[in-house]
Amino acid sequence: MLDFLFDYAALRVIWWVLLGVLLIGFAVTDGFDMGVGALLPFVAGTDTERRVAINTVGPVWEGNQVWFILGGGAIFAAWPALYALSFSGFYLAMFLVLASLILRPVAFKYRSKRPEARWRRNWDMALVVGGAVPALIFGVAVGNTLQGVPFHFTDDLRPIYEGTLLGLLNPLALYCGLASLAMIAMHGAAWLALKAEGPVAERASRLGARLALATAALFAGGGLLVALGLFGGYEVVGTQALDGPSNPLLKAVATAPRAWLGNYGAHPWLVVVPALGIAGALLAALGFRARREGATFLASALGIAGIVATVGVSMFPVILPSSTSPAQSLTVFDASSSESTLRTMLIATVIFLPIVLAYTSWVYTVLWGKVGEDEITGSGSTAY
């Protein structure tokens, strides 16, 4: 089925694009509820204010989080070598992400079950951790990916990671972590400005403007650091068969200080991708000031899409570079699943993703409208 449409090379590129779509979907949807969690103590003081903030995401965060789970499943199915290497390599970091995220479902569900202030404060902390820690660590992971990760394969293709947790926490990676945190917090603020009423929305708008400027500055600064050669860069040398077997031992890769800018040199129009990242964040900053909540949220989402896509476009065709054995770096053309699996999964995606988007939009429409204190405290409330 569909054999005539796409060959193996095209399927690999399509799945590289879909990986980006999933990561952007995750950052744009789950991003705003993680941002709300991270901002909770900064935008809401009293219990009622906190409930306003929490209830803007109460009915939807669970569906949003499936983008993260689906991302894991899709990487497993389409990029098994990446799944095997990254999650075992970033082992303890991944444990921290999971432990933080595990707190969220219970915090949302259990917080309102008891009235005591201490009970609720503890779950508020869980929501802050569950929002901020993953955002930070995902950025750190991207920072390490850009610099290259110490790994190699045995001749059985057993992945072997050579680094440590502390090695992940280098200054450049932490810089990316900070940028990621600012981005997610900006997006959370945009959501709160859109969905909350009263002082929560006020504070979110004020804070959001600053976070959006910080996001734009940190992202542009990151580009500068790449241009200065601090992140290094990797590029495939010679010709790599685009439809060859998924075996990362069969090619040559060179490191060069500014290799991550190579794609922009070859295809200057690609500059629109990072430009979208900066423009989105700057427009969001203006939107926060002008109190144009709908436009702000859209700008913030576009900014996130641009920022996430920039990482992919800069690295293409490399997905995960190896700092210790560059030739064994994972690329789009040697780390994918088999042609048959990519094709089957594409068919499943083409059928089910539109259905998912359709009922998700319907749910958001049903829940349309702002969440205010009246809705929380009123006797007709359905709130957490």
Binding site: I69, F352, L367
Partner: protein, 531 residues
């Protein structure tokens, strides 16, 4: 060679997190359907009490659901974290059902669960009921896809090893999808979940009846749970996944171990009701046997012979020797990718490659294995008999006991007679039974698969990540502390919610009447128990 301690710790961590996750999942499966059924009765009859039942059991469903979601996160990523070689080796096949599970099932249940709790005032009763059913469909579809993945670990059909990519790759996706082991597992597991949901509702309703609280609601819940539970528990046994055990070599070994069938018996084999398996002597002491029954269960026939452990070990020895040919050919291909003779040999023998890998726990280079080491590897295909033999029997006993309980409960419900108090006491005491049964069932299926992680393809000891023992100790301690604390909180909230009873649907604003935006202050549907 991977550190054996690392392998043991990786297995321990997977067992802990999977079995903990599995405390919540079957209850979600069962309660989602029960709640949808109650809401349907409400929508059809518009009788308030059914709406209150929907909300009350929905409240308990929500407390349980949160932990199912939380602990499920770990499962999705744990293969990559702790089982990196496995993930690379079989990701081409195993990853697909996991991804489709997310796309088809998780999105459905997680997106709609928000509307289930928050949509009461925003949707018409019919629309809300539809949401509830689709949410239940989502949870059930997720069971289907994860069991297709798990079924493939037990019976790896539709795939072959590709020497160019050094991993298993799909050859026939439909075979993976319609794997008979997966189908049997799905029906068995889902029916077990329904049984658990029914016991949960039955036990808590019985407690209310004994305490003379919320009797009208409790009696209706008791009735619906007993009917649903009887159908579900009968399905668990009749559609038990033993039917899948006759299919493959190691499933046969698992079955022989469960039955402590040391030697092959003439058809139809007898069933050992009770006994003490003695692995050293290769016999079962104090055995009480029922003739014919095992042959009937295991082969659905009177004349198909079932192999015993000794015979299966012999067969494993043969396959190891065949596998060594494949292993040697693969080594030749690795040295010279253009070696066509080696490729031809490999294609002929690659089905047994996994058996040669079993030797790696005894010798670094399997091609240099001695006859003694091959015998040792063949014997390593026998899982530990005693735990499988006893776990299976306790599980089955609990299953039959629950059928009797549901049957009795339904008998009194149908006759509209006053059921005796001992029945309610018994129903309450039965609360832990389904949890014990499903955990033992999971244990039998997965521990019985050892020494394989993918039957006949990849031994467990080769499948882990190259991590340090301290890494594993940190995460095991972390998960244990986190999960332990959450378990305490969950049980506390559950007990509190049950003690507060259905009246909290009046007090709790998140449990508002559907289709109205008004307060329900002062509404006490259960003030007069004799409705």
């Amino acid at each position: 060679m991977v550190d054996p301690l690392l392998v043991e710790l990786s297995r321990l961590q997977f067992a802990l997190t999977a079995m903990y996750h599995f405390l919540f999942v079957p209850l979600t499966l069962g309660l989602s359907i029960l709640v949808a059924m109650m809401e349907t009765v409400y929508v059809m009859t518009r009788r308030k009490i059914w709406r209150d039942m929907t909300k009350f059991w929905g409240l308990l469903f929500g407390i349980n659901f949160a932990l199912g979601v939380a602990t499920g996160l770990t499962m999705e990523f744990q293969f990559g974290m702790n089982w990196a070689f496995y993930s690379h080796y079989v990701g081409d096949i195993f990853g697909a059902p996991l991804a489709i599970e997310g796309l088809m099932a998780f999105f459905l249940e997680a997106t709609l669960v928000g509307l289930f709790f928050f949509g009461w005032t925003k949707l018409t009763p019919l629309a809300h009921m539809t949401v509830t059913w689709f949410m239940a469909l989502g949870t059930n579809l997720s069971a289907l896809w994860i069991l297709i993945a798990n079924g493939w670990m037990q019976n790896p059909v539709g795939a072959a090893f590709n020497p160019d990519t050094m991993r298993m790759e799909v050859t026939d996706f439909y075979a993976v999808l319609f794997n008979p082991v997966a189908q049997a597992k799905f029906v068995h597991t889902v029916a077990a979940g329904y049984t658990m949901g029914a016991v949960f509702v039955l036990a808590i309703s019985a407690w209310y009846i004994l305490k003379n609280r919320h009797v009208a609601l409790a009696k209706r819940s008791f009735a619906i749970a007993s009917a649903f539970g009887l159908a579900a528990s009968l399905s668990v046994v009749v559609l038990g996944d033993e039917s899948g055990y006759a299919l493959t070599e190691h499933q046969k070994m698992k079955l022989a171990a469960i039955e402590a069938m040391w030697e092959s018996e003439d058809a139809p084999a007898s069933f050992t009701l009770f006994g003490v398996p003695n692995a050293e002597a290769g016999r079962t002491d104090y055995a009480v046997r029922i003739p014919w029954v095992m042959g009937l269960i295991g082969t659905r026939s009177l004349d198909t012979k079932m192999p015993g452990i000794a015979e299966l070990v012999d067969r494993a020895g043969t396959r190891i020797r065949n596998g060594l040919t494949a292993y040697a050919a693969l080594e030749a291909i690795k040295k010279d990718r253009g070696d066509q003779a080696a490729r031809a040999t490999f294609d002929r023998t690659r089905g047994d490659l996994g058996y040669a890998l079993l030797l790696k726990q005894f010798v670094d280079d399997p091609t240099k294995a001695t006859d003694a080491e091959i015998d040792q590897a063949a014997r390593s295909t026998v899982p530990a008999v005693l735990p499988l033999f006893s776990s299976f029997r306790i599980m089955a006993l609990l299953g039959f006991a629950l059928i009797a309980l549901f049957g009795t409960a339904l008998f009194y419900t149908m006759r509209e007679a006053h059921a005796p108090r001992w029945l309610f006491r018994l129903a309450f005491l039965a609360l832990p039974a389904p949890w014990i049964a499903v955990e033992l069932g999971w244990f039998v299926a997965e521990f019985g698969r050892q020494p394989w992680i993918i039957e006949g393809v990849l031994p467990t000891f080769l499948a882990t990540s190259e991590l340090g023992v301290p890494d594993l100790l940190v995460t095991i301690a972390g998960f244990t502390a986190l999960y332990g604390a959450l378990a305490v909180i969950e049980v506390m909230l559950m007990v509190r919610a049950v003690k507060k009873g259905p009246d909290q649907v009046v007090g709790d604003p998140s449990m508002l009447l559907p289709g109205t935006g008004t307060s329900i202050e002062g509404y006490r549907p259960f003030a007069t128990p004799a409705e």
